[in-house]
Symmetry: C2
Subunit: 366 residues, 2 copies
């Protein structure tokens, strides 16, 4: 069984390849040859002194590639108010101030484990690559100005991914901290060879953008409805960055998956699944817990990305449409598709460390 | 991070300790300090030439022990008719004709992975130990004759476990193949120091048993209702071994969990969860697939084991009652409780192989 680290994964995954492998996976999903087990989050509020412990998993499998991926995150999480917004932070509580996220890859032919590696690189790329895949079908063909709200990891990956699908000649970036947006501008301009400007106002970015991306760690609204204008394509990494009013103003909405919220399991809730997109309220205010079953959002009837990618449902139909790709929640097949690509490349190049597969096999099955 | 094998796990887990750790875990669950993510099965019928591929997972977490367990099985499965019954077989499709089942243990304090080991020993023991824990509250205090239907792994573990909770002085065993029941009798008599008789008829076993256990690989009925008699306690490893008519004749039924069937995800079913206790019909007859949503079985209103263990609900109330423990479906907390016990003991004794925990940590969290 192969063990890889993030540096190796990063070296093996080009954005172009990611787009290709994800496109194939969505087609398989639309055909009924791929399958997901949706994300579940298991919360233990009382175990860490640093925050709330959360164990998150999802699974995906591809018949053609004969592979299954299990992706897991074992995290300590904090919610904090910062500048009027609620921010969700993962605390690096593991030894050496690190995080724990893993992809486990299995053969769907023999059952054997093939590889284990950290999820970080694939997670960064899968969000951005699926956003860009959606933009390929939804953004105007002549979209040239990319507006970025946020300057972190996800924003960087989005800048790179959007440049793969459209002839972007200018990137405008805003994030609240000046130093962050300026270092984003300098680094991304150098990396992508596109002119990048740090902008002090989010609205000024939105005003000029053909494609507007919210890639922040905010769990409250980042793009208000009045910023939308004809011909624009918008997207986000968290549903809450847009909100219902903004989504309601969109002409053509495509969602990632109809399963919009994880299955939450929380201690103290009598071992029942709890419906909530983000369980912060349940965790901070247990007394009100019966009132937190969220209503099904109106946008759940929108087409899913898989059907647009497979040509079963249409993308953009006119230059004036305001388009949007929403709820980029993780799907197991993204990790199966990109994980298998990484594994095949690493095998061909002899990368990674090997530990005996036999350690993970057994001669009994009670 | 610690790697253990089944031999090490087996040497560390006494049945007495298992009963103690499971009892504590059920109490935590009843108090709301433990939590499960119920089992899900992900099916890919088209990937293996040997049968149907299935990826099964469940999770459980304990606040007091600050631990999370993920249990997974990566299996090729075949259904076959044998002697008028449908038998479910796991094909050893991994290298060396082996199976793939793993427990991954994580700290719910720091998030870090603690250990990985095969699931086989714990799986064998957790089923039998939970059965015996239920029998402690449900069987007659003077139950002395144990009837076993089945002579495999699960039957052996059940014989051992039942002897921990009741003063068993005779075991009667039936299974269809004479050689199998006779070797069971010889081995178990030697192991447990109790007289064990191989019996050619299942009904003759039932006729004399105070506690009757079905531990077979049959997915059709093994104990018909006419075999029940006053004062008997019955149990099974698969719901189908009893069936609704037999369950309806029981006076006091306790179930393992109200979540009675796994969440099934199957390719070709448009990426939706499919309701079925065992998806054999869905897999062999896709055309009828809309008709397979099973009705909620009547026995789902029965008390759950956790509440009986915690003293919130009563066990046996009279010597005449016919009692039953049903739907011994795997719960993540069983693997968390027994996995943590194994990990602690292995740490104290310096057992297992170490691989660097740092291989499973990361410095990014996109």
């Amino acid at each position: 069984m192969m063990i890889l680290n993030n540096e190796e994964v990063s070296a093996l995954l080009s954005m172009e390849n990611c787009l290709r492998h994800l496109e194939a996976a969505y087609r398989e999903l639309a055909e009924g040859a791929a399958v997901n087990r949706p994300r579940s989050d298991l919360y233990l509020p009382a175990t860490s002194s640093n925050g709330v412990y959360c164990f998150k998993t999802m699974e995906g499998a591809l018949s053609r590639e004969k592979v299954v991926a299990l992706r897991l995150n074992s995290d300590v999480i904090k919610w904090e108010e910062k500048g009027g917004r609620i921010i969700k932070e993962k605390v690096p509580a593991a030894p050496g101030n690190k995080w724990v996220g893993l992809v486990l890859l299995f053969s769907a032919e023999t059952g054997e484990p093939l590889a284990i590696f950290p999820d970080g690189i694939i997670q960064g790329i899968r969000v951005a690559a699926s956003s860009a895949l959606a933009a390929r079908f939804l953004a105007r063909p002549d979209a040239a100005i990319l507006g970025m709200l946020g300057s972190g990891w996800q924003a960087r990956a989005h800048a790179q991914a959007m440049c793969e699908v459209r002839g972007i000649n200018q990137i405008l970036v805003h994030s609240p901290t000046k130093a962050n947006r300026e270092s984003f501008a300098a680094e991304i301009e150098k990396q992508l060879g596109v002119s990048v400007h740090a902008v002090p106002s989010a609205e000024a970015v939105a005003d000029r953008a053909d494609i507007l991306v919210a890639a922040t760690n905010s769990v409250s609204r980042v793009i208000p409805p009045e910023w939308l204008k004809p011909g624009m394509h918008i997207t986000c990494v968290k549903i809450t960055e847009l909100g219902e009013e903004t989504l309601a103003k969109v002409d053509r909405l495509v969602i990632h998956t109809r399963k919009w919220a994880p299955d939450n399991y929380i201690t103290g809730f009598n071992d029942e699944k709890v419906e909530a997109h983000d369980p912060i309220d349940l965790l901070t205010d247990g007394a009100k817990r019966t009132s937190f079953t969220p209503k099904q959002p109106f946008w759940l009837n929108a087409p899913e990305l898989k059907d647009v990618v497979a040509g079963k449902l249409p993308g953009r139909q006119s230059p004036e449409e305001i388009t949007c790709f929403n709820n980029n929640i993780g799907l197991g097949i993204q990790f199966a598709a990109l994980g298998k690509a990484v594994f095949d490349d690493a095998t061909a190049k002899g990368l990674g460390r090997e530990i005996p597969t036999d350690w993970f096999l057994e001669t009994v099955h009670p």
